[in-house]
């Protein structure tokens, strides 16, 4: 027996009274405060409260670093799926889906433009494209950016954000490490500046190649950077990893980063460093 009885069991939702809040507020993983999304958008995707750096898309990065009027190049390469790889889903359909979602052919954008009054070549990885993984297209595109730097004698900046080599391209993706590292040796021989900007997260084959090969290797605060993933390490050593493991600050402390630079200061840092490298006495 119930105390209250409702004759009409249906509760009719009233669409007019619904207030849409989804996506307008974001909980910051840095300070755990709820932040108005528009404030983060207006602040280069950095939390205005604690300075936590949220992910920046490749396009946002290019717009942030280059003067208006830059040109996007080398966008037309598409993977041929050399292994005809299929796991739970064919790699080809994963690619097609991600291409549609991101409007990109692969996890990289090259841009040519000016940074302050300096002409530069910029190559930016897109983490939103299959975890920024590096297959034949990413490897070739970064190499083309380096080729452009070699031909024009302009400095090269590569912004990494990647889970590592793209498993679905197997040995072909591993070979990209050798390819990009070889062209960077050419740049080094020719004394053309190369700065590696490492962003959250950068792992595996990307850390084990161009990300660590800059004249300067710099990172944004709090970025996760490593060779092996934390889960793999925990399974191997069977112990918990220390707080702050593989963050930018950890790498700086151990001597593998030259500087940690906040997003708002990156452009001036890069321009100033490149000037230092290229200015004739």
């Amino acid at each position: 027996m119930t105390w209250f009885k409702r004759d009409d069991n249906e509760i009719q939702p009233n669409d007019d009274h619904e207030v849409k809040t989804e996506g307008l507020w974001v909980k910051c993983p840095g300070c755990r405060k709820t932040i108005w999304k528009a404030d983060i958008d207006a602040n280069l995707q950095v939390c205005p409260n604690c300075g936590h750096h949220f992910k920046f898309s490749a396009r946002e990065r290019i717009e942030n670093l280059l003067e208006p009027g830059f040109e996007l190049v080398d966008l037309d390469l598409v993977s041929t799926d050399p292994l005809e790889f299929t796991d739970l889903k064919p790699y080809k359909s994963r690619l097609a889906q991600t291409q549609k979602k991101t409007g990109l052919n692969d996890a990289i954008i090259n841009a040519v433009g000016r940074m302050g009054d300096l002409d530069v070549i910029l190559s930016v990885m897109e983490y939103g494209f299959i975890g920024g993984s590096m297959g034949a297209v990413v490897g070739e595109t970064i190499t083309r950016a380096a080729d452009r730097a070699l031909e024009s004698r302009r400095p090269l900046i590569v912004v990494s954000a990647s889970g590592g080599a793209r498993m679905q391209e197997g040995i072909a993706s591993l070979m990209q490490l050798a390819k990009v590292s070889s062209v960077l040796a050419k740049l080094d021989d020719a004394k053309i500046p190369y700065i590696s900007l490492i962003t959250d997260p950068t792992y595996g084959g990307v850390t084990a190649s161009f990300a660590m090969l800059g004249d300067l290797n710099i990172a944004e605060p709090g970025a996760l950077i490593g060779f092996a993933g934390p889960r793999v390490i925990e399974q191997t050593i069977r112990q918990k990893l220390p707080e702050g493991f593989q963050r930018s600050e950890f790498l700086l402390e151990h001597g593998f980063l030259d500087a940690i630079v906040e997003r708002k200061d990156l452009k001036s840092y890069l321009a100033q460093s490149l000037k230092w490298m290229t200015e004739k006495a």
């Binding site: 396009r59 037309d76 598409v78 292994l83 040995i171 072909a172 062209v183 084959g205 161009f210 060779f227």
Partner: protein, 289 residues
């Protein structure tokens, strides 16, 4: 997926073991000769050089001076160990950053005196560990890739067992990269690939086949220069014959490399890696930017 399309009533038969998995087990066979076995059999006067002069001496990596048919050369190979105790001490053959730095130090030493460099590779991967990360495993591997691409001496790398990802490549940016017939060379282990892509480590055999990492497949993909035959059933069945087969190939390749000028050699090495694994087509620009 194939098993989803099969009729439900079909009797469950164990799927045939893919050839890639057979090769994987051969590559990992515990009786298989390891890099140091090749170094001892094919070279004379081996004199080990220890330490990276920065941190320590990696027990999973050996490097040193030696002679190949009388000629001074440098040899480098990772060490796996045979007994359980030794395997643990050698971290099952997975080098730490100081191992890669020791290898590079010895390569630069050989370069200084104009001597060819041989590397032998049989490792599952670079060691994943806390210390390895603290000491820059990524940087150590990256540095080797860059420096090997411009070493001014002939270089020959041979995969004698497992060629495990970046940890193997860090010894294999060479003029000639050779694989023995029953070896594998992969971006990830089949176990790792299965647990990531299939979310099920027991799918390792499927992953092995999907990764196309056998010597035949890797050669077909143009990612190694030559495949060396093995004795019937694998190198462990007749190590002496295996050493002779490898010896013959190394002699051949070294002679070919030494007949070229160093400038030609460097240009050819660069061209090879610049044009390796070009698996893309030029399509329309998808970017709406």
């Amino acid at each position: 997926m194939a098993e989803n399309t099969a009729p439900k009533s079909a009797p469950s038969v164990a799927p045939p073991v893919p050839e890639a998995w057979v090769k994987t087990e051969l590559a990992r066979h515990p009786q298989r000769p390891y890099p140091m076995d090749y170094i001892e059999a094919l070279f004379t006067d081996f004199s080990e050089i220890h330490g990276d002069r920065q941190f320590g001496d990696d027990p999973a990596m050996a490097a040193g001076m030696a002679r190949f048919h009388g000629q001074p050369v440098a040899v480098i190979g990772n060490l796996k160990g045979r007994s359980l105790k030794e395997r643990v001490a050698r971290k099952f053959g997975s080098p730490d950053p100081e191992g890669y730095r020791k290898a590079l130090r010895v390569m630069k030493f050989a370069e200084k005196y104009g001597h060819p460099i041989f590397t032998f590779i049989d490792l599952a991967g670079a060691n994943p560990g806390l210390g390895a990360e603290e000491r820059g495993q990524g940087e150590a591997i990256a540095r080797n890739l860059l420096e090997m691409s411009r070493l001014r001496v002939p270089t020959i790398a041979t995969v004698t067992g497992e060629g495990g990802s970046g940890g193997a490549l860090a010894l294999a940016v060479a003029d000639r990269v050779l694989m023995l017939e029953n070896t594998i060379y992969s971006v990830i282990s089949p176990e790792g690939c299965a647990s990531i892509m299939w979310k099920d480590a027991s799918k390792k055999q499927q992953a092995a086949a999907a990764l196309r990492y056998t010597a035949t497949d890797v050669k077909r993909l143009g990612c190694v220069d030559d495949v060396i035959d093995e004795p019937q059933g694998g190198t462990h069945n007749d190590p002496a014959l295996a050493f002779e087969m490898v010896n013959k190939k190394l002699t051949q390749h070294l002679a070919a490399l030494q007949s070229q000028s160093i400038e030609d050699l460097l240009a050819a090495r660069y061209a090879k890696f610049r044009n390796i694994a070009q698996f893309y087509t030029v399509a329309g620009v998808a970017a709406s930017a």
